[in-house]
Subunit: 258 residues, 2 copies
């Protein structure tokens, strides 16, 4: 206890994991192109939470409940997007309550939030659906259109509209436990993957604390390869990066001599 104040924050060496569950027929039909997965992935990486799995399911109760339970029990946090509006196809709140095993009813805190934007006589039955919050949940404010998201246990329920989701994520982020941040280095490689794959494999085997990936892509400027090194320790990361740079320099000399 005596040196607790001098030690690093409790979670500085912990790994905190998460999953994302995207809820909506419109993503599966291709009508709406998801913009939330990549945004949340980048956001969580930045604050020190490791995104480990993503699922997209339709607006079907059984599918949502099953996915919520599979993911909330497996990871530290589950973030959902979509299905919290006023229309009949918005069933996320009911499904999360069912999955977590709590009651759900109109929540006066949510009603009060909606009343900041509309008159009581306009708060019709369908709009009140947006105030149905599982018992025991905390609300996540929505500065865009008032209807809140919520957090119950480790499940964070957000809107699907990107602008609203961004604001909700900003609001909930300070309340989350975060772990050690993953840092990364990206190297542009001017060779085909097949030339450096063997050397890269050896480096990956020598650096078990780093995750090393190779990513080809085609852009306006043609074929392009990037090697990305990811890890938690800056010194190990720098050492791994130096190894890849040495490999590439060696291969460049070989290619020049060929």
């Amino acid at each position: 206890m005596s040196d607790a104040s001098a030690s690093a924050p409790a979670s500085a060496h912990k790994t905190i994991t998460a999953a994302v569950l995207v809820i909506g027929d419109e993503i599966l039909s291709g009508r709406t192109k998801d913009q939330n997965i990549g945004y949340i992935a980048e956001y969580l990486t930045r604050i020190g939470i490791e995104l480990r799995e993503v699922r997209v399911v339709p607006d079907v109760e059984r599918e949502i409940v099953e996915a919520v339970n599979a993911l909330r029990t497996r990871y530290d946090y589950l973030f959902t997007t979509g299905g919290i509006g006023p229309t009949h196809d918005d069933i996320t709140a009911e499904c999360v309550a069912k999955a977590v095993g709590v009651a759900i009813d109109v929540d006066e805190r949510a009603v009060n939030l909606l009343l900041t934007r509309m008159k009581r006589e306009d708060l019709n039955e369908m709009r009140l659906r947006m105030c149905r919050i599982p018992a025991g949940a905390s609300l996540i404010e929505n500065p865009v259109s008032a209807a809140p998201g919520f957090r119950i246990a480790n499940v964070i329920v957000m809107a699907g509209v990107p602008r609203i989701m961004h604001a909700m994520l900003d609001n909930v982020a300070p309340t989350l436990e975060t772990g050690v941040k993953i840092i990364s280095e990206t190297l542009e490689i001017g060779f085909p993957e097949g030339l450096y794959a063997a050397g890269l494999k050896e480096i990956a085997e020598r650096c078990p604390d780093l995750s090393i990936g190779s990513y080809p892509s085609f852009g306006a400027q043609g074929y392009r390869n990037q090697v990305v090194l990811r890890g938690k320790d800056p010194a190990l990361l720098a050492a791994g990066k130096a190894e890849v740079e040495a490999l590439i320099a060696h291969l460049a000399a070989q290619q020049g001599a060929r």
Copy 2:
């Protein structure tokens, strides 16, 4: 049997379902923004296959094998993207073989495809990894960079690079069983969702064969709502659309009178 030739194609009234499995650390870290889910979703809808679930998992054998088995047993087809290159982090082919329970080895057909693009002495050990194909699989040609995808049982394994994936999907699509096509109608609604949600719910209840969704979004032109009706029968779809149009006209008159 006698009127078989006069009947519709065997699958014209069937529903054919699919899942997509995106494999790659780079999507979960947010480094790479997935472009494949939306493309495949739209493509499958167009050809008459219903995408029912998507998962994204990291480059970890246990996770890939588990997801392949969960999805291939549940849907008619499973499409995977990513992890079929020459580097050590490309483990999709091995994982699919393991999940399906077949052997995997260097496949001469795949070797011959690579030899159309490179000399035999350049076909090093790591590049030969791209020729490792599960026993019994058929190959899916890759006109961009030669290294093939493959299909084994109902699992279709494609590259993660969008340009290559598009070509592979074009190549495999004609071999797939397709079902009745989902058709849709989209209506732009000039009201907040809360005003039409009750009427829309009633229409949805009267039209159990249609899937009716309401989608708010924010664009450069501000708030915007769309109602999308989806179904298999053109007449039912037209009737549902007419009901929504009547609802909106009714609400517009009410609003005008208010």
